[in-house]
Amino acid sequence: MSTRPTAAALGLIACRVCGLVSSRLQTLNAGRCARCASRVQVRAPRSAEHTLAWLLTGVILYIPANLMPVMYTSGVQGGQESTILSGVVSFWQAGSWDIAALIFIASVAVPSTKFIALGLILWTVRRGTLPGRRERTKLYRVVEFIGYWSMLDVAVVALTSTLLQFKTLGSAEPREGIVFFCGVVVTTMIAALSFDPRLIWDGRTRDD
């Protein structure tokens, strides 16, 4: 394909868990890494399919996560339920645009970026697109890096519900939406972790 020296061409294979470089033939016959005993394969089996399945689960869970309330607050003016977006809006209206932006990034921008980025990577892998492989590998690392920050809103709801327990001032309780939101974070993280980025570099000529 190109002059890029691959481990495969040199008859070598690297363990994805501990990084041990060993003879491809021996390791694949044994099926396990000689150092850490993790399974070693040419590519993670059905990696793109697993990623797609987890990603779609995440997209589906993202709908109730946004539509259902994540918190109920009661005070002297009565009680009200808030969703993630209405929480962002109320911070914005209260003048805390910075906190509104932070929650918006963690709860809306990060999951959406993950959906779009992983979707794009899966689509180009399926087509065997060659240009921009370096950039797409970098994009994959960005997805891995930002993924867990979406748990921010879960922590905020939990802390608010713990602290705000006053009869006169008001009280807060969590609502079901937060479970779906946790589900989005966990499934999209598993989606990113099950993806084998080496697939981006394989092109049309998969050697397995």
Binding site: R35, L102, Y148, A155, T160, S161, L164, V179, F181
Partner: protein, 204 residues
Amino acid sequence: MARPSTAPLICLHCDTAHRPVSPGAAVVVYCSYCGAVLARRHDITATQLLAVTIAAAILFVIANVTSVLDIEFGGVHTEANIWAAALSLDQGWIFCAALALAVTMFVVPMLQIALLLWVLLFASVALRAPGYRHALVLLHHLRPWSMTEVFLLGALVAIVKLSAWVHVIAGEGLWAIGGLTILLAILSRYDSRNWWERVESAGP
């Protein structure tokens, strides 16, 4: 400590084989094709890493026995830390969220610190810890699920959010979590390959 290796460096993100670099040439070596980290220099000794891990263990205990945030209003006092926050979500089937919070912000960081303590205690006296293989494999798989820093940011957002109504006091636990975040970041600079080399070159 650095053993000369003739095996090529193989990028885990694109499978490119690179010529081995001489140890100490650079702090970090990146893949010229995809930009992933290929190797990182052991720029801290095992004993220094052990000190960092012990400090992290102390801060972890402080963070979990003291309160992170306190509120005092009309004679009523409420306080929160990681456990209290997780328990507040334990209502009906919202407990799934409580579980996710407890695992990512308590169980995983605790296991990471405990496993590193075990491995580094032996490495600092030039020994390989019993069961170090399992410990290092587990550490590799735990890493993405460690979310102490998210809890720290969550606590800061909660302060701003609640300050609209009441005076929120930052407890000792908040400072402990702040410190813990920094120490865990130092420890997670090193990837799996680095830990394996470090432990296996430490001794018999």
